[in-house]
């Protein structure tokens, strides 16, 4: 095997995103005052906390060839629900499970339409995107509910850290969940099945994988996590509104895709997706600190997205060319089984 093939095998896009992430961090530390302190980094992470959470099940979905565009609406619905219940005087301990239940039911509806009715997930979740956001505004109207209990709010805020460390609670929670999801995706039969479903659903079904059930589970989990993110969002901003998280779905998907997860399914790593989320978060923070306007940031995000798919292609083409030239010299016959 030539060195070139080994190189291209290890220099995958998700690793590249990881490297880029570190580069951005180092560049920020070196050039920008006020970047590399815990306050700022906590805030930067805080800004992407819901995106990061939702990105976990979204990665699983995209790997399985599905997509859930209704997540941001579900976040808003959960927020509106939490707000109206809190306003009505319910205990916060009760509100959380109710919101989670709503999330699961919403996810179930998505999953049901996709698996039982057989509709494409993109179409279904565009529909539920509208529906859930609509329900949110039915529930809470134009109100904004505030004054959530400090006891819980502090866990969502990035100013409180876990006792004895500088790690804020949501970061710790996210880390645990991310590791769990990574193991599930890359080291279990469940994960293998998702890859198979995403790459070729029929073949997965013929191999005895419970395609529909797995998809249903994914959508439910996605709804669940989105509603949980809704609670965190509400607590973090201290404001429950029907329009919370509007338009977040595309940011989540952009982050996941930036991390090298293939939208057609069957390819991608969770590490890549997480790196994608963090890269967008850190880069936005760094650019804002340097007074680069939001408009330019948006352009940078777009360019990164295009690069995320174009770069691997270019590398592949170049290495293919290179390879063909070397192959002309050294002949490698088809090898038989060892």
């Amino acid at each position: 095997m030539t060195t070139m093939t080994t190189l291209t095998r290890y220099l995958r896009w998700d690793t590249a995103v990881g490297i880029l992430l570190i580069a951005v961090f180092l560049a920020g530390t070196g050039t920008t005052e006020g970047f590399a302190n815990t306050d700022n980094l906590s805030a930067a992470l805080g800004d992407v906390s819901e995106i990061a959470l939702i990105a976990l099940p979204m990665t699983l979905l995209v790997v399985a060839g599905q997509v859930d565009l209704s997540v941001a609406s579900m976040l808003g619905l959960s927020s509106a629900l939490a707000g109206s219940l809190w306003q009505a005087g319910f205990a916060f301990e009760l509100i959380v499970p109710v919101c989670l239940l709503a999330g699961a039911v919403g996810g179930l509806l998505n999953g049901w339409l996709v698996t039982r009715v057989g509709l494409p997930s993109l179409a279904v979740t565009i529909g539920t995107l509208t529906l859930y956001r609509g329900l949110a505004s039915v529930i809470l109207g134009d109100e904004a509910v505030a004054d959530f209990p400090e006891t819980y709010a502090k866990y969502a805020a990035y100013t409180e850290t876990m006792p004895g460390t500088f790690v804020p609670y949501p970061v710790a929670l996210f880390a645990v969940l991310a590791v769990g999801t990574a193991i599930a995706l890359h080291c279990t039969g469940f994960g293998r099945s998702l890859f198979a479903i995403g790459a070729q659903e029929d073949a997965a079904w013929f191999a005895g994988i419970r395609v529909k059930r797995l998809k249903l589970v994914l959508f439910v989990v996605s709804g669940l996590v989105a509603s949980f993110a809704g609670i965190i969002y509400t607590l973090r901003y201290g404001s429950a509104r029907a329009d919370n998280g509007l338009g977040l779905e595309l940011v989540v998907i952009a982050s996941v895709l930036l991390g090298g997860v293939d939208f057609d399914g069957g390819k991608g790593t969770l590490g890549g997706a997480v790196a994608g989320v963090l890269l967008i978060g850190l880069l936005t923070n760094l650019l804002t600190l340097n007074d680069i306007s939001n408009e330019i940031q948006v352009i940078v995000t777009g360019l990164l997205l295009v690069a995320s798919v174009l770069t691997p292609r270019i590398i592949a083409v170049v290495s293919e060319r290179r390879h063909r030239r070397t192959a002309a010299e050294e002949s490698v016959p088809v090898s038989a089984a060892p």
Partner: protein
């Protein structure tokens, strides 16, 4: 009550206005040089906000401070938060904010105040304990009630009216609407009826279609109040081109440059607004006064705002720019903004 009331569960508790590091006000202190003042509008692409901020930045130049405008490109509740965080890291001296949501920005604003950064809300208020001052373009009560008074006069205190607002959660809009509804309960308006509040989300095209919808759904509609510059322009355009022209009275808040054409072609007779440039100007002076220790935000303190003269801090740290101007065919030629 004024400002952000009515939008939160139980109107903000007035316990501890978090005015940290509270020093005594020294009315005679000179304005500090080299202050860093940042404007954080609802969204950077809003033309109205841009007039305000540009005037404020110009004013900062006059007093030897540096001003800048940063902000999100959408008017979502949460998108201002990350900007506040970076402004804190950049160690600005004062942040002027037009809040998209009174509560969502609270946490980071409090953190800013803890780090001795002055916080001044303008245009749209935050919760009261999250800022030191609120520059109100006009008394909210005055705006709300005058909108009803003006249109009632045009309609002879009779007929169905509707409101075309911005987003469902805009603090200032909702406050004004609250006062409008309150005004309408007075006996002299007993023949007037508010049939609907529609939301155009401060998007031109949405507002345009909402106007259409209102006129279609309520055939007896006699008047529309649109207390938002985007909404009134869109409504005027629809009415001006449709068969409703001359049959439906439009009033509200708009800028003269946007509305000039419709005043001239008779689509509407009057609208009102304050001078957004003065709002920005006053904002900068107020922030500088705070940062220089002339005032602390307590009721009754006074400071000089350049050409605009002296202002007094009112209840809850509110400063009122002045009464809105009513524009009509006679005076519109005198204004250019």
């Amino acid at each position: 009550v004024s400002g952000c009331s009515g939008t939160t569960k139980d109107s903000v508790k007035d316990d501890t206005p978090a005015k940290s590091g509270k020093a005594e006000a020294n009315p005679d202190a000179p304005l500090k040089k080299g202050l860093k003042i940042a404007f954080l509008p609802k969204q950077i692409n809003n033309p109205y906000e841009k007039i305000v901020d540009d005037a404020g930045i110009a004013a900062a130049g006059e007093i030897g401070a540096t001003g800048k405008e940063v902000g999100p490109s959408n008017a979502k509740a949460s998108s201002q938060v990350s900007y506040i965080n970076t402004l804190i890291q950049q160690k600005q001296d004062a942040i002027l904010i037009a809040a998209n949501d009174p509560n969502a920005v609270c946490g980071p604003l409090k953190q800013a105040m803890r780090q001795d950064i002055k916080v001044v809300a303008y245009d749209s208020d935050t919760a009261k304990d999250c800022r030191q001052l609120f520059i109100n373009q006009a008394s909210s009560e005055e705006i709300g009630r005058s909108q009803v008074r003006n249109i009632a006069k045009q309609l002879g205190n009779k007929g169905e009216i509707a409101i075309l607002s911005a987003t469902q959660n805009a603090t200032n809009q909702n406050t004004w609407i609250q006062f409008m509804k309150d005004e309408l309960t007075k006996p002299e308006y007993k023949d007037m009826k508010l049939v609907k509040v529609a939301y155009g989300d401060d998007q031109d095209q949405k507002s345009f279609q909402e106007t259409q919808g209102l006129l279609k759904a309520y055939p007896n509609l006699k008047g529309i109040i649109s207390p938002t510059t985007v909404g009134i322009a869109a409504a005027a355009r629809y009415i001006g081109d449709s068969s409703y022209k001359g049959k439906v009275v439009l009033n509200g808040l708009g800028t003269p440059n946007q509305m000039r054409k419709y005043i001239e072609n008779g689509t509407l007779d009057q609208f009102s607004l304050w001078d957004p440039k003065k709002l920005g100007y006053l904002g900068t002076y107020a922030a500088a006064a705070l940062a220089s220790g002339q005032i602390t935000g307590a009721e009754g303190e006074k400071f000089k705002a350049g050409d605009l003269g002296e202002y007094t801090v009112g209840k809850d740290g509110e400063i009122i720019l002045g009464p809105p101007t009513v524009f009509d065919a006679k005076n519109i030629g005198d204004f250019d903004f």
